[in-house]
Assembly symmetry: C2
Amino acid sequence: MNNPLEELSSHLDKDMRSVNAEIIKRMDSPVSLIPQLASYLIAAGGKRIRPLLTLACTSIYNGNMQRAHMLATAVEFIHTATLLHDDVVDESKKRRGQAAANLVFGTQSSILVGDFLFSRAFQLMTDDGSLDILRVLSGTSAIIAQGEVMQLTTAGNIDTTIEKYIEVIEAKTATLFSAACEVGSIIAGADTQANTAMAKFGMNIGIAFQIADDALDYNADQEKLGKTIGDDFREGKMTAPVILALEKANNEERNFWTRTIKQKEQTNNDLATAQSILERHNANEKALKLAETYGNKARQALAEAPDHKLRALLDSLITYAIHRQS
Amino acid sequence: MNNPLEELSSHLDKDMRSVNAEIIKRMDSPVSLIPQLASYLIAAGGKRIRPLLTLACTSIYNGNMQRAHMLATAVEFIHTATLLHDDVVDESKKRRGQAAANLVFGTQSSILVGDFLFSRAFQLMTDDGSLDILRVLSGTSAIIAQGEVMQLTTAGNIDTTIEKYIEVIEAKTATLFSAACEVGSIIAGADTQANTAMAKFGMNIGIAFQIADDALDYNADQEKLGKTIGDDFREGKMTAPVILALEKANNEERNFWTRTIKQKEQTNNDLATAQSILERHNANEKALKLAETYGNKARQALAEAPDHKLRALLDSLITYAIHRQS
């Protein structure tokens, strides 16, 4: 099987070129540090999964692809702004296989260029002129920020439930996936039922994607991942693998999580210990099983869309989102 | 003479109560840290000069005051988001007479709550539904971020010209004043000429306001100011008083600015020395004279508005913006 993300990208290649051109055009500014920093992050690649979702959903419902190019750019800018701010908040060291922007350009520039891209996203939406889309994406932006704050408040709390965790990732990640899809069908003037189905597809693939991301943070090949492994552990984030391992923890393990996650007292070998505890409880496999349940919901919602080559590719993308290696 | 800002506030008292109610309603969130942090900053007061401008300009042109309440809230949220991010960028210690939010709640929360308020501002505009207003305020937000980045790149550069300085403060401060005013006349459905006049009034009072702010950073009574005096000096910011003093600097003074601003090597007595150099060259007075020239442009633009009690109050506000003590 080919990589479904690459297949999707190649199927939408012409449109993605237009999106890339729009990205470069819209991140331009007379203040040269802005395009420098933005292109540093954007040129490094990334999966571009969100703009692809917007393009695919627009195309499935026969929408205007020129509008899709602009709005996919807006979606990607919101994502990029969030990444820049996240990396400052998390003091990240690596992103997309290179030093994180906050380390290269400073945290100050990362904050302000994030603000710039966020503003540009709203300029793009205004240029497009759909109040429905503005409503979806301004609401999404507020929910992302809420999710990030919620994540701050759950960090270090080893009593965080899996339900609370899902609430956090729904807000901080899946809502933008949901919006990316719904924007596509809105562009196409689809009916409310279709918009709801696309939003539901996006939300559930987004949750599955983030659970898989959180599993990768403990078991990925660091070279392939493009960011530092164990970041979540060092930041004391309560993600699916840890929560699932805690459910089965003996006293000694519970003490380990208390010291490393709650009290954040970590030594060099602790990440390896954490990994072996997760393995002992099959916590990563259990996390991916949980991701599968959301994958299935995504698949169900997607089935409401009209039959289309891209619908089949999005279906494969669900499996990819869960079982990817990076 | 009464304080014109207080007079304006008292004249618009009923509307400002509605704005305050809207602020409280719209900063609410199930994530309790968000309203906690937002209300910490908002309850501390501040001049509320931007929402007052929106209310006044709407009222002068006989616009719908309910829309003005919502949009004045959006303007204040953009301002508050900017303050939160600025205080992280500048590592500020004090704001509005109390410890800066980044010190009380942490820089992470300040960044994310800033993002939240920014998103909420766009939700408010979308609820209002005017694409013209969305265009003005999304453009303004992008320009503010550009101005802040520009300021980062001029900091420490003792060759910064007064023209470059004006460009920075126009972007980072005056554009939002301009938008606050223009939004008012747009709400009222005024013609392009009126909107342009209000934008011009706002831009010029904003520039005057910021020049005065930068003078206060060297010569205010710290108690009255509500923030730490000398912040700009410590951050190596190139503001009007320093630029004007540098124009007349002898070798010894130039060496002083090179060491303190360019090389940022400062000792305890340096702020006092800076203040005495500024005094020697009447740099603060010269800065306020420069502010007056922008005040006059603001006055000229304001004269295009219909005769109105609030127009007279805005006229007095120009003088206040320049000669206030805090």
